[in-house]
Symmetry: C2
Subunit: 205 residues, 2 copies
C-alpha cells in the first residue's frame, strides 16, 4: 500500500544542520514556491508571500535576526514565509477571472469577497490565525516538494519577528510565520526523531 | 525535473463536494494519521491530536456544528485537527527516550523542556500560534498523503469552534484548528482554482 509520496513523507526529517556550498538556481526556487502555492487557503485567499534570502548578504542579515543560527547561512536559501492580510478586493478580482473562465460559478466572487470582509475586517485575531494557517499549509507543501528532489529542509520559528519585519520591510499588517531553510543536509545532522504512537493521539468521535 | 510527488502537489484540489458511499477502514485512517504525524513541530512538541468522525452519527454531530455543510456527512471521514497545549513534561520524557536510543544528544531533553516552559507558560498567544502552526503542517501532510492514494480531501475552517469543543469534549486549552474531510470527490466538484503568478508573491531579499 506504500507509494513514493508516502515513502517520502514517512522518511522526512528536519535538517538540523546543512552542508554549505550548495547553490539553488532561482528558477528552481521559483518552481518550488509555485508548488507551495498549490496549498489550499480559506476562501482561496492566498494570504501569503515569500521573501527568499539566497545571497550571502541576505542570509547574514536574516541570521542576525534569527538568534545567529548557522542554519540560516549554511542553507542554500531561506524562505521567509509571510502571512498577509486577507485582501477582499484582490480575491474578488481573482475569483471573477475564474468565473469568466468557467472554473467557478457566477456570483461566487462577490459572495466570497463579502464573507471575507465580514470575517476579517476589524478582527486581528482572525487575520493572525488565518495567516499562520495558510502559510503553514504552504510551508509543509514546500518542504515535501523540496524533499522530493533530494533537497533537505528545516522549518524555523527561532527568529525575532520584529527584527525580521524591520530588516525585510514587512508591512504593519504582515506576519512572519516561519522560515523554511532549504539546502543539503550535513552528514552529522540528527536523524528523524521518534513520534508518539498514533493510538495515543487518535480517537474516534 | 518533475516527479510523482510534485505532480501530485501541482494537481491537488480541495474537494468542494464528495460522493457519499465510500468507507475508509480504520487501519487506513490510522496509517494516514501516522503520516500526518511525520510533520515537524517546534521543539518536536507534537502539540496535536486527531478526532475522527467516521460513523453516520459522529458525522451528523459534527455537521451540526459546521454550518450544516454537506461535505461533513458525504465524506468518508472527517478529522478534527486539534491543537494542544505544549506539554513540557511529555516532551522531556519523549526526548529522553530518543537520547537513550542515541538519536539525540545528551541534555537536549532538559534543555528543550526548559525552553518550552519559558516560551509557552503563561503565554496564550504563543500557545495558540503554535497550535495553529503545528496542526496546519500536519494537515497539509495528511492531505498530500491521502491524495496520493486516490482519495480526495478538503480542509475546512467553516465550523463553530465552541460548538466543536463542546460536542467533542475538547479540553479548555485545546484549539480546533481545522477539519480535514477525506473521501471520494464528486464528479461535479470544482476543478483546481487558478493561482496568482509566482512573480507577484515572491521577492528576493
Amino acid at each position: 500500500m506504500s507509494n513514493p509520496v508516502q515513502d517520502l513523507i514517512s522518511k522526512r526529517v528536519s535538517a538540523g544542520l546543512f552542508s554549505p556550498g550548495l547553490q539553488l538556481e532561482r528558477p528552481a526556487i521559483e518552481r518550488l514556491i509555485g508548488l507551495a502555492m498549490r496549498a489550499p487557503s480559506a476562501y482561496h485567499l492566498q494570504n501569503w508571500r515569500f521573501i527568499v534570502a539566497d545571497t550571502d548578504a541576505a542570509k547574514q542579515r536574516l541570521r542576525a535576526v534569527s538568534y545567529n543560527q548557522s542554519k540560516v547561512t549554511e542553507a542554500a536559501a531561506v524562505v521567509i514565509m509571510v502571512g498577509t492580510k486577507p485582501d477582499a478586493d484582490r480575491l474578488q478580482a481573482d475569483l471573477a477571472r475564474a468565473v469568466a473562465a468557467s472554473v467557478l460559478p457566477r456570483g461566487i466572487d462577490a459572495e466570497w469577497a463579502a464573507a471575507v470582509r465580514a470575517k476579517y475586517d476589524g478582527n486581528p485575531e482572525a487575520v493572525r490565525d488565518e495567516a499562520i494557517r495558510s502559510v503553514s499549509l504552504a510551508a509543509a507543501t514546500l518542504m515535501i516538494a523540496a524533499d522530493s528532489e533530494g533537497l533537505a529542509t528545516c522549518p524555523m520559528n527561532g527568529f525575532d519577528p520584529a527584527g525580521v519585519a524591520r530588516e525585510f520591510h514587512l508591512a504593519a499588517d504582515e506576519i512572519p510565520v516561519m522560515l523554511v531553510a532549504i539546502g543539503q543536509i550535513a552528514p552529522e545532522a540528527w536523524s528523524q526523531k521518534p513520534r508518539l504512537p498514533v493510538a495515543e493521539l487518535l480517537s474516534y468521535a
